[in-house]
């Protein structure tokens, strides 16, 4: 690990000011000299591995704004402060009641110990676990732009079949983000250019030719909150996560589903897919294919086919197309059968 300066800014504006002082204009948050740290479960790991090399860490845990640590439930929805821990949100009674998909996505993520440490903002910004990204001796366009992608023809069992490019096929591994994108969440951020609201679907960027650019955030922008709009039928929602190891592991495939049903007919469906795509993945074509249809195995399979129509399998991850479809079919049918 490289030596670094550690600071504990007192409030958001102080943190933004320091970040902005050490950032240049086109700096990516993940490549900036000064970087924010919350739970540290992702960033500290990558610093030890030499993957992330900030020379200044701005610890957000002492920021004085209390909203950062609160979950607020209103008629308009739920607002999660950025520093709320995964475990707190997962165990929150109203979250569980109103949006089971959110509680599930958090409960099925990581381990109890990590959930106690990890913040919600850190969670949505977690970086890929691509094995070739994690270890600095491999060629990796995301870690070292232009160096190539060792995973493309290598051991790519964990890698993405949706949203990939010729430069990078790394999966976005987070679970919570799938629930958020399905529920049309909005991210609040504050930076030197002011405060703004970012639709969750715009937060992450597909790799394209620039896989090292991962989000829409500037290096001095702090996520302050995540807002999930009210959804009366959000109770009929779940997160299904398929993984190699039952106790804890990243998803091989997952599905976040919320359904508005009229009997067995779908009025509206919300679908997001995890473990299979380079970014949090809203499956809009699958949603559309279900609209107005009776939800049964046949229509669920048609939706799954639509969701993976553009999939690009590689050598070791080809199974994710089939697995992803089956995961979605199962999730749709289980959501339909929920007693709400």
């Amino acid at each position: 690990m490289r030596p670094f300066v550690y600071e504990q800014p007192a409030d958001i504006s102080a943190a933004v000011a320091i970040a902005s002082r050490f950032a240049t204009n086109d700096d990516q948050p993940t490549r900036a000299n000064a970087q924010f740290i919350a739970g540290g479960t992702n960033l500290a790991d990558y610093m030890k591995l030499g993957v992330a090399e900030p020379n200044r860490l701005l610890d957000l845990n002492r920021l004085k704004e209390s909203g950062l640590r609160q979950i607020r439930v209103t008629d308009d929805g739920i607002r999660f402060g950025a520093l709320v821990r995964m475990g707190e949100a997962a165990d929150h009674r109203e979250v569980e009641e109103r949006y089971p998909v959110i509680a599930d996505s958090l409960r099925l993520a990581a381990s109890g110990q990590i959930r106690n440490m990890a913040s919600l903002a850190g969670n949505i910004l977690q970086r890929t676990r691509c094995e070739y990204f994690r270890e600095t001796s491999w060629a990796c366009n995301k870690r070292m732009p232009g160096s190539g992608c060792a995973a493309m023809l290598g051991f790519n069992r964990q890698h993405a079949v949706l949203g990939a490019s010729e430069a990078c096929i790394a999966t976005y591994h987070g679970d919570f983000a799938q629930a958020l994108i399905a529920l049309d969440a909005v991210v609040h951020a504050e930076g030197s250019r002011g405060a703004r609201r970012i639709p969750f679907a715009k937060l992450h960027r597909r790799p394209g030719d620039t896989p090292h650019i991962e989000t829409d955030l500037a290096a001095d922008e702090i996520i302050t909150a995540i807002e999930v709009p009210a959804l009366p039928w959000g109770r009929r929602s779940l997160y299904l996560k398929i993984r190699d190891r039952e106790s804890y592991a990243f998803a091989l495939a997952s599905a976040a589903v919320a359904l508005d049903l009229d009997g067995e007919t779908v009025r509206e469906a919300r679908i997001a897919l995890g473990g299979v795509a380079t970014v949090p993945w809203r499956a809009s074509t699958a949603e559309q294919s279900l609209q107005g249809k009776k939800l049964d195995e046949t229509s669920a399979e048609a939706a799954a086919d639509a969701a993976f129509a553009e999939a690009q399998p590689r050598q070791r991850n080809a199974f994710k197309v089939e697995l992803g479809k089956r995961t979605l079919v199962r999730a749709l049918l289980e959501t339909r059968d929920m007693k709400v």
């Binding site: 690990m1 490289r2 030596p3 591995l49 030499g50 676990r129 094995e131 070739y132 994690r134 270890e135 600095t136 001796s137 060792a150 023809l153 290598g154 051991f155 069992r157 964990q158 299904l240 398929i242 993984r243 190699d244 190891r245 039952e246 106790s247 804890y248 592991a249 990243f250 091989l252 495939a253 199974f319 089939e322 697995l323 089956r326 995961t327 079919v329 199962r330």
Partner: protein
Amino acid sequence: MDAAAPRPKENQGEPLPRVDARLKVTGQAHYPADLPTANIAYGALATSSIAKGKVTKLRLDDARAVPGLLDIVTYGDMDKVDKPKFGNTGATSIGPLHDRTIFHDGQIIALAVAETFEAAEEAAQLIRAEYDEEKPTATFDSPGTATIPAAGKSPLFKEDVKAGDFDAAYADAAVKIDQRYSTPTQHHNPIELFSTTAFWEGEQLTVHEPSQNVTGWKVELARQLKIDPGKVRIVSPFIGGAFGSKGPMTPRTAIVAVAAKRLGRPVRCVTSRMQAFGTQTYRAETRHHIRIGAGKDGRITAFAHEGWEVTSRPDAYVVGGTSATGRMYDYGSVLTHVSLVQADRNTPGYMRSPPETPYVYALENAMDEMAVALGMDPVEFRRINEPKAEPIGKKPFSSRSLTQCYDQAADAFGWVRRDPKVGAMRDGDWLVGMGCATAIYPTAVAPCAARVRLTVDGDVRLQCGSHEIGTGVRTVAGQMASERLGVSIERISVEMGDSSLPPAPVSGGSISTASVCSAVLKACDAIRAKLFAAASAEGGPLAGSHNEEFELAGGKIVANSGASAKVEDVLKAMQVGAIEEYAEFAPKGATPEALKKLYAGTPEFHGGDQDEDSVKYAFGAEFVEVRINRYTREIRVPRIVGAFAAGRIMNTRTARSQLMGGMIWGIGQALHEATEVDRRYARYVNRDLQDYLVPVNADIKDLQVILVPEVDHAVNPAGVKGLGELGNVGTAAAVANAVYHATGTRIRDLPIRIEQLLV
């Protein structure tokens, strides 16, 4: 009694809690990298990022500029010491800093030493190598492999066993199978990281390092450093998981010792989890070709097992599990052949039941296929083929309780409820499957020394250079002394894990309990003899009772007449404060050199298939239930039952714990464990516990261990069969067989993963 402490049955010892349990759960047990050492400097390794070629240039300037850097040990700095040797004490013959040739991925290219761990790590990461790179050979089927016969390449694997005329018998068989199986690369990944701490006091070198073989390492390290073994001490009081990985010494030990000498200061180097994949040993991938022929009655007439195992270019590490699979059942005829496949890889090594895990996996998967082909119940099929004598040399088994194991495990598991039809058992959306397999492990024993002292205060001090690798050997050795000397376990202190203690063999091959307990037994019996003689001598407290038998209990010598005397009084009468005995145990059949070899760190193993009179094995039967989701096909193991017979059980708690750990490991081997090799570069890809999955507590639901009583006096004086490596043999096959039962898909290549079942 709770499940963790099974009630002892016949020939089974009390489930005493581990003598070091409190130390371990309160964090007071000091592992080698925790042992306090003053004025320590920290070392960090730099390793190669290619698998084959030469280091043409090392750029050290950036590393040297790191504040706090003290030294870099690299090419040229090891020239005055000898290269490592490959064998039971040495992991590899590759002396990474003796030669700029790169033989494998992750080979040590330098050791950076600094004032702090962080500075050493930073410096090591800044060391840049330039290479003259060649295209490496990764594994089976890669261009450039060389295949050679394994027989004779290792003293433990002298020949390919055979019996009768396989070809004729197979040709005539009414029912047959012909299949291929494989097991992946696996790394031990003990939670305690690998580490070396070395310091010199004048000419005396002390090394703190987790080790399963302190005596062997002392001798081998002295040889490399060209000093007297008497000047080297290896200290390893606790080991946080070993599984064979801490059996052979790796080149790092001498490198750190040299660094400590150059600096004149203690140096500690803890290897990172990622680096351990290349700098330590591992279980290399294996392939198997099995043919079985049988009559319609289910009696096997022909069995052939060919195996292929990957090894490194310079070292012929042999797994060779056909000696066990070839003796498992009453085959009629046997044909085996094992080949080594050399590739540009680090040298593999022992990993918990090295030969049996992969080879018995293949056999037991094939046995299930054969039972299916015969339309026979898999338990019944095995019962029909129980041998009276082993098929190769026609020697009897010293004891063999496999049938009892099957009976008891099947009963506890509820095997009768299994519907033999494939795919017939369901629970909602979950397909249910049940499978079983046999576990076998050779019962070996080696020479061992121990020192036992009984004091006038009634305290016992037991010293033996064996190793507490988590098995509970400290506890069972203490229990043996407690039994023989009639002293409660609280009064006994057990010292192990130090090469200055009486030598014990490597803690491998499941020999420790048998060997250590036999030596402790001998020392205790010598103490008893002295006490009894003194007590019954003229003027002694029990004078005149020469012809009586004595026992020791509760601090007293008790004659069978009922007369008794306090041990304390006998010692006083002897005018001594303590009796101390140093015993050297050598097993039956030991050569005249046996004890000398023990001190040289290269002990002889006896037992298994090596003895003249009989073959000696421990057996078990494992039953597994799997559940597989109808849509998404993830595999869960909600239930597993194993019944094992292993001669005298010293302590039912520690025995159960070993077997339980083995079975859990077996589940991991079935479903998770695999090191992925990038075939283009011959490099390991998933070098951490994020991607190298093993089961954790939360994955294990209902697990039952049954200890089947068995008495066997032929194996060793203690009557003990090792069981540390028995539990994970067969488990993976039982899982594969259950998966077949649930789905009709036969998985022959481990690990069993979702993608294989999505058909």
